[in-house]
Amino acid sequence: MAHAFPFSAIVAQEDMTLAIQVVAVDPSIGGVLVLGDRGTGKSTAVRALADLLPPIKVVAGCSYGCDPASGQALCDSCRSMTGAKRKTAMRPVPVVDLPLGATEDRVVGALDLEKALAQGIKEFAPGLLARANRGFLYIDEVNLLEDHIVDLLIDVAASGENLVEREGLSVRHPARFVLVGSGNPEEGELRPQLLDRFGLSVEVKTPQDLALRVQVVRRRDAFERDATAFRAEWEGANLKLRQRIVRARKAIGSIDVSDTLLHRCAALCHTLGTDGLRGELTLLRATRAHAALLGHKAVTADNLRAMAPLVLRHRLRRNPLDDTGSGTRVQRALDEVLSA
């Protein structure tokens, strides 16, 4: 089993690590879009986080990893089992890679050809979306993703379940996951509908500071020499982080969001001219999750200051000719709103 790089050992890229943690606390924020150069540790960070999170309780033998505690979001076979018959098991949080050029039947799932041919029975072979349920779906080069797969993902992300109607099958199964997309904006544009699905967006660059670069190289080298020892070294920090996230998840229901802050969120979105109301909603959820992560009881202007660029950066596009990253505009609007 491949070892994952410890999350707390990731050097630099604070924006990205913060965004991923926030999304782990509250998955309803939507996904994280990471735009930037190649080789900046994007997939490492996602895998590291999934490794960090506590294992999830699943119904034993269910290929969708259904949650035994949830009443609604169960696949058909789990729902038909009565409560007593459901055995549970623990499984690590799944991270599924959607490779570039994945075909539709690989993503959605298809008729199980082996069983059909060898035994003559009709059974559904789950695809990548089924494996990613209750976990992370990492899409590399999301701006090069094909249109019909993008349509699929938008659909599934919106409804939280995957509906398969093909090859004589009619299957519906839960598919709730956190979408993490990465890409290089120089290679293509993202469709605005897909862009909107991502709750937070981050820009990453390879560190320009020599000392940071040396640190990255040294840690990576130490990890590859002796992964077990390296992980043991960082186990303490990882554990602390995990506890913070678990606590935050529990506390998020009781975080207080004042009316003034809501006004400020709305004012900010209005000043920047974001489309639709998703900006405000995501801002609200993100600031709340951020406050929970830090252990605060109420959301303050600091949380807003930290989360606003992440939430709003990719929603500013009125005109496709604008560059995708508009961190400075957000900053300016933020200063304006917070000083008023």
């Binding site: 491949a2 150069d37 190649r38 080789g39 900046t40 997939s43 290929s63 599924v96 890679d97 490779p99 570039l100 050029g101 994945a102 075909t103 539709e104 039947d105 690989r106 008729l111 199980d112 050809l113 082996e114 059909a116 041919l117 060898a118 003559g120 072979a125 789950p126 990548l128 494996r131 590399d140 080069e141 090069l144 094909e146 249109d147 019909h148 090859e167 004589g168 290089n184 904006p185 120089e186 290679e187 293509g188 544009e189 390879t206 560190p207 020599l210 670069r213 040396v214 990255v216 190289v217 040294r218 990576r220 080298d221 590859e224 020499r225 005109n319 496709p320 000719l321 560059d323 995708t324």
Partner: protein, 599 residues
């Protein structure tokens, strides 16, 4: 002077070959750590010699053909065997078979992007997941990518090349250089070296020096210093040493960092660097010589601390002269293509796009079996095939197979050929830029791409390669100079080259020519109106015979008969536009694009 140059070149080539041999040894020792080898060499005796050494080295290689489908690559059901034997027969994927060895990619520059992505993913994780994702098999392998592209063509995709530690370029070598071979390692030696490998570790100062050297050479990726470190460790292990020393670091800098250099460091012209380079390499490229005064031999190269400058010098010493010149001029060496090269990529994959009704055909090599249509074709023939009733199995034969069919919309690409010569006012250039941006605004919704070629002075230049990215377009069009003669023939020629490449890649090209037609520079770059116009007419005729659509926007104040003739010869629509307005231009282009699409 010529004598020493050729001598220096010969020594350099001999060293290149030695490095290539050493690369094989290194790969045996730590295939996963090094990532692999990117071998640029034409199809010929030199490459054959290297491949013979590869075979002799005993490294397990698995060849992955260019057209390989997911099932074969990652593992899955073997359809033919399953049907024949009546039970499930699973085949291990090629990547799983390569565990502990190497994957050989012939014609790697034409590898499909999704195959490259799968290979890169497996390399990262050290695992392959089978199609249904339930099983995963270990797959720790190196990749040996054989790249046959010519100098000017786009080479291996960046996604793969970034992960390959050793970049070797054997294109300059002749057969005579390949006589020296290193002996292969015996199993005993291999084991000893591998044990030694685990003990060795670089000091922090050594890591620092490598990172500094990489940074000074403008190597962005952080994988490069890591792989350089590993190569240094391998070299020390092979020589049976306990610690890393200068030689290991210099070798690593030369083999890993040198080929990836994108800029020359600001040499502090310290005399000690000159001494180090003099001892390190007999070949002294001219640009390095002008910067550091030669032969201060009293300065010892035995610095107690590893010196990044020495490493940089070692890295640069291995580069051929023309590359160094490019670096000195500030031109980055040609970066590898972002996706696979445009050299003849098959236009329609059999698995991508909106589904269409199935058709009879054999599955495999990309096409996926359409089970229902197959069964529907087989069921009526069951009685004829004497299958006992109620056995629950359907007797299938190869003639029943149906495969999925997918349809892909063919996008179009608008090629702008801008006349940036002195006779066109700068204002028109600005308008043309505006039109391009407007078009991109619209075409991004339709998934069309735009390419911009500018011609002025003596030649035509591709300013913006076909792209849908607005970010890239804005950046490329930001600084567009004007002035000089009008090399119209070169402009049309460049456009034709792009158009053909686009057609091979599956797009429909459409040309928009912005010029007043007054050519005064011929195709060979020489001035002279008569020849220039004759050349322009010839190339216009070439365009016409290619059959692509074109639009000529005449930018002269009065409709220019020269432009009209050229447009006619080209088979292009002619539109006089004395006051170029971005909006009008964009509309005209759009109109024509829709026309050509519906035809």
């Amino acid at each position: 002077m010529n004598g020493t140059d050729t001598e220096a070149e010969a020594t350099r080539l001999a060293r290149v070959w030695q490095d290539a041999q050493f690369a094989l040894l290194a790969l045996q020792l730590d295939p996963q750590g090094l990532g692999g080898i990117w071998l640029r060499a034409g199809h010929g005796p030199v490459r054959e010699a290297w491949l013979a050494s590869l075979q002799a080295s005993g490294l397990q290689t698995v060849k992955v053909p260019q057209q390989v489908d997911d099932e074969r690559l990652l593992g899955g059901m073997d359809l033919a065997q399953t049907l024949q034997q009546g039970r499930l027969v699973v085949q291990a994927g090629l990547l799983a078979q390569a565990d502990g060895g190497a994957v050989l990619l012939p014609m790697a520059e034409r590898l499909a992007p999704h195959t490259a992505a799968q290979i890169a993913q497996a390399q990262d994780q050290g695992l392959v997941h089978s199609r249904d994702g339930q099983q995963s098999a270990p797959a720790r392998f190196a990749v040996i990518a054989l790249d046959e592209s010519e100098t000017e063509e786009a080479g291996l995709a960046a996604r793969l090349s970034d992960r390959l530690g050793l970049w070797l370029d054997l294109r300059g070598n002749g057969l005579a250089d390949t006589l020296a071979t290193l002996e292969a390692l015996s199993p005993q030696e291999l084991r000893e070296a591998q044990a030694q490998l685990r003990q060795l570790q670089a000091t922090p100062a050594q890591v620092q020096a490598l990172c500094e050297a990489a940074w000074a050479l403008g190597v962005e990726s952080l994988r490069a210093p890591l792989m350089a470190l590993r190569l240094a460790v391998i070299h020390a292990a092979l020589e049976g040493r306990d610690t890393l020393d200068e030689d290991d670091l210099r070798l690593a800098a030369r083999m890993v960092l040198g080929p990836r250099a994108t800029r020359l460091p600001e040499m502090a012209s310290a005399p000690d660097t000159a001494a180090a380079t003099a001892t390190d390499s007999p070949a002294q490229p001219p640009s390095a010589q002008t910067e550091a005064p030669p032969a201060d031999a009293t300065e010892s190269a035995q610095a107690p601390e590893p010196n990044a400058e020495l490493l940089v010098a070692a890295a640069l010493a291995s580069l051929p002269a023309h590359l160094l010149d490019r670096l000195a001029l500030g031109l980055a060496p040609r970066t590898p293509a972002r996706s696979s090269g445009s050299s003849g990529q098959a236009l329609h994959s059999k698995l991508r796009g909106r589904p269409l009704p199935p058709r009879p055909g054999q599955p495999g090599s990309g096409a996926r079996l359409h089970l229902l249509a197959t069964l529907r074709a087989a069921v009526p023939k069951q009685r004829l095939r004497h299958r006992p009733e109620g056995s629950g199995k359907v007797s299938l034969r190869a003639e029943d197979f149906h495969v999925h069919r997918f349809g892909q919309a063919s996008p179009s690409c608008t090629i702008f050929a801008l006349d940036a010569s002195g006779s066109a006012a700068l204002q028109r250039l600005a308008e043309a830029k505006g039109a391009v941006e407007l078009l991109l605004q619209q075409s991004y919704a339709r998934r069309d791409s735009v390419c911009v070629i500018a011609f002025r002075a003596a030649r035509a230049e591709v300013l913006l390669a076909p792209t849908r990215s607005l970010v890239r377009a804005k950046r490329a069009l930001a600084g567009l100079p004007g002035g000089g003669g009008t090399p119209l023939a070169s402009g049309v020629q460049a456009a034709l080259v792009q158009a053909r490449a686009l057609q091979r890649a599956g797009s429909t090209p459409v040309l928009v020519m912005l010029s007043d037609g007054r050519a005064n520079v011929s195709a060979s770059g020489v001035g002279g109106r008569a020849q220039a116009q004759a050349d322009a007419l010839t190339w216009a005729g070439q365009w016409h015979s290619s059959g692509f659509a074109a639009l000529w926007l005449d930018t002269s104040p009065q409709p220019e008969p020269l432009a009209q003739t050229l447009a006619q010869r080209m088979g292009a629509q002619y539109l006089p536009m004395p006051y170029v307005q971005a909006q009008r231009m964009a509309q005209a282009v759009q109109h024509m694009a829709t026309q050509s699409r519906t035809l």
